[in-house]
Amino acid sequence: MNGKILFTVILCFLLIGKSYSQNQFDSVRYFGIEVGNTFLPFNIPDYSFIRADNSSNNNDNSAINLTGRYNEFQFSIKTETRSLKNKLGLLYGIRLTYITSSLGKQDIWSKNDKYFYLLVNQSNTSSEILRVNEINQNSYFIGIPLELRYFTSHNRFFRFYFKTSVDLSYKFFTKNDVIFYNDNMESYTTDVINKFAKPSPFHCNINFGAGIKLGKEGKFNINIEAFAVSFNIVKTNSSIVRTGIGGGMQVNLLIPLKF
């Protein structure tokens, strides 16, 4: 399903790119920077090596009773060319994506001194478990965003547009951190991390949304956009939580460059 959507989106980009090559470019190309945040809902798998902490019957969700966090932040440098009388924009560039996720028993009401039990070693007649406050994972990806936006109106200071984008990235760094209830257990950090699968090296988000552009044509522009639907084809960019379909927000500043 996700593969079909990715294939369709990339096919659209290729067809539009071909139409771009056949059309005469407008004289203005934009260049700019962008920051964004994607909010994807996530779930925590029922890890067999984490002790349940919640009595449950068949209607309950999870017995391990953990909370988590997942966030994607993006920083991009992009360029945009327009065609179809300045109504269709093709944006591409380079993007740094920072994904942060955590697993623990933290809540917003009290300081994080709660812990869960994690099984690190087991033999025939002995088991070793550790009290863990929190597991954090931060990954950095570098990649290429490909975006299309269609303006519903002609040149104005305020323009509304629809947008679709695909973001293909590759992981170049991951840092894991385990906060133990007992500080003396830090030597087990690698053992704890190895209980989880490694995060996927590829990252691919597909987004559908809309935005507004503020600024005159050929001048400095600010774009504020929201993704109504955003999903990560690779659900394992964090190895500690699994992502679903969510939304996102981006703000970019575009400066016109005359050619």
Partner: protein, 194 residues
């Protein structure tokens, strides 16, 4: 103003939510055996069995298992409830004579041990505070896994996990205790030898 106080009370309730520790019972219902806890090997301090069509299960109020070693007998005392009401107290005691541990660590020797139950073994049952006559017909009591648990490298307890089933004449009526399972942590708090 009332809403403000209500919100404050809600915050206090959420803040006071108690964390479960190793002594508490964690009852995760078995989808395939409704009413019974899943079979686990984590030391969830639960047990359960069908008593004909009713359930005999552990609850949060009673210590689910006490192991008592006296003279020539080791007794597994399961304390729980019959049915879904915690007021319906029920106790089931298994008496074993072949193995007499001195301390709770000795229970590790029960790892992967099956004890066949027949009319030479003794089981006693107490329902709603009254002892009932039990004549054992057949069955077994199996410790699938006995493991010494270390928490943050400190020895904490022995976890006994296993299954049991038997048929018996209870007050002269044939009764089947079936699908029994237990997963209980044993340490100084529930192991007694005197």
């Amino acid at each position: 103003m009332k809403i403000k106080y209500l919100f404050l009370i809600l915050i206090i309730i959420i803040s006071c939510k108690k964390d479960k520790n190793l002594r508490d019972s964690i009852f995760i219902e078995d989808v395939e055996s409704p009413g019974l806890p899943i079979y686990s090997e984590w030391g969830y301090n639960t047990f359960g069995a069908y008593y004909d069509r009713e359930v005999f299960i552990s609850n949060d109020k009673k210590v689910p298992l006490k192991i008592i070693v006296t003279n020539d007998t080791m007794t597994f005392n399961f304390f729980g409830q019959l049915g879904n009401t915690s007021y319906n107290n029920m106790t089931m005691k298994f008496y074993f004579t072949n193995f007499l541990p001195v301390n709770y660590e000795d229970l590790l020797q029960l790892n992967d041990t099956i004890i066949n139950l027949n009319n030479t073994n003794k089981i006693s049952i107490n329902i709603y505070g009254s002892n009932v006559n039990v004549t054992l017909l057949n069955g077994y009591f199996k410790v699938d896994k006995a493991q010494l648990l270390f928490v943050d490298t400190k020895e904490t307890e022995v976890i006994l996990s296993g299954h049991f089933e038997f048929q018996a004449l209870i007050n002269n009526e044939p009764i089947a205790i079936s699908d029994g399972r237990f997963d209980i942590g044993v340490n100084q708090s529930n192991f007694f030898s005197y």
